[in-house]
């Protein structure tokens, strides 16, 4: 092979490699284009049945219940219109609390109960000092649930 042809081959090979990498990434992404389903979407039967998917929403206030083993938790995920009961056994992220956004990976059984294998916290775009948050809470009586998930 002449040096010129050789270089051309390397360039074409490189471009093909870039194309393949991007195709693979997009393929991994395609299944996640709808990264999570909301409780309303589940109520409308839009979520896949019998296979694992992600459920997203807010942990309903007052719904969190811990079992004695210290690892299993039960809670409702809500989008303020619909709610889905969730059971999860494992370590929860630090930000996981009632009223906080959450994305859970798992399966829905026939009775509409969601068993999660992984729970991630989804936080909103608000940032402030703890003192400010406390003052706000005092002023409003109670912090309204974040609306970023329901948009």
């Amino acid at each position: 092979m002449k040096p010129r042809q050789k270089r051309m081959t390397i360039i074409l090979g490189g471009l093909a490699g870039l194309g393949i990498v991007i195709a693979l990434v997009l393929n991994a992404f395609q299944g996640n284009l709808v990264f999570f389903f909301s409780p309303s979407q589940i109520a409308a039967n839009e979520a896949p049945e019998g296979r694992s998917f992600r459920l997203g929403g807010l942990v309903e206030e007052g719904s969190l219940r811990r079992e004695d083993d210290g690892l299993t938790v039960h809670f409702y995920v809500t989008d303020t219109a619909q709610r889905v009961p969730v059971t999860y056994t494992g370590i929860l992220p630090d930000l996981f609390t009632e009223g906080q956004g959450v994305v859970a990976q798992g399966k829905l059984d026939g009775s509409g109960h969601f068993t999660a294998s992984e729970v991630l916290a989804k936080h909103d775009e608000t940032y402030m000092a703890p003192e400010v948050a406390e003052a706000l809470e005092l002023a409003k009586g109670e912090m309204p649930a974040s609306s970023s998930l329901v948009q």
Partner: protein, 245 residues
């Protein structure tokens, strides 16, 4: 005032101009970065939910912004270079790429280290993270393609085309959090609203301006290298090297 802008489109006259411009960007960049770092790391209070981990925002957001802005600037200069056949514009595009790639990697890295304590994971394949990763591959592709072709004109044309194609990814990254359900939260600061406490937002903006100034300074420095490299047989460069460096 009638400045002949086209005079500065020639590498020979832009080279000394760029040299004079560098300190005007580099010095304020350092000053702002020092102020921003001290404020962001030691003076500002922690966040009400995330605690100390939110301090990563002061480098994460500027890095992410720069990675997108620099790619658009790269595509812009590549188009100018191709349409008007201007050598300097193509050199600008080439000089921007490494800085953009570094900021793109740093946005991903700081994002991963921020995601673990807040979300509970270093990485997810959601729309925002995936499109940002593709941006990094586009930077690598651009630099590799440019380096692989020896003839500077053809290198500029081929890599410029790739830069323009990849530019369509940038608005997708920015709006991904609105268009799709993502784990990544929405933008805290947009032209119309801010969901950050004013003190935190101003430190983030100080760091963002520092990143802009740094990027301009380092790009000017690199474009000077680029000019010398490509014009090394020109008479003006020979004269230049007889003087002190």
């Amino acid at each position: 005032m009638n400045i002949n802008w086209f005079k500065y489109a020639s590498p020979a006259s832009f080279y000394p101009l760029a040299g004079k411009m560098i300190p005007w960007f580099a010095v304020p960049a350092v000053i702002l970065a020092v102020i921003g770092l001290i404020m962001g790391l030691f003076i500002l209070p922690p966040d009400f939910k995330q605690g100390e981990s939110y301090r990563i925002i002061f480098i994460h957001v500027p890095a992410a912004w720069m990675s997108m802005v620099i790619y658009l600037a790269m595509a812009f200069w590549a188009i100018i270079g191709m349409v008007w056949n201007s050598r300097l514009s193509s050199m600008m595009a080439t000089a921007l790429a490494p800085t953009g790639a570094i900021f793109c990697f740093l946005a991903l890295w700081t994002g991963a280290l921020w995601g673990k304590p807040t979300w509970g994971t270093y990485w997810v394949w959601d729309a925002r993270l995936t499109t940002q990763l593709i941006l990094l591959f586009m930077y690598f592709g651009y630099m590799a393609l440019h380096a692989a072709i020896e003839d500077p004109r053809r290198a500029a044309r081929a890599s410029g085309l790739l830069a323009v194609v990849g530019a369509f990814n940038v608005p997708i990254i920015y709006f991904s959090v609105q268009w799709w359900n993502t784990l990544h939260q929405g933008a805290s600061i947009t032209p119309t609203k801010s969901e950050m406490a004013a003190s935190m937002a101003s430190v983030m903006l100080i760091m963002a301006i520092a990143a802009w100034l740094y990027s301009i300074a380092v790009t000017l420095k690199r474009v000077r290298c680029e000019i010398l490299d490509r014009e090394r047989h020109a008479a003006w460069v020979a004269e230049l090297s007889t003087e002190a460096k």
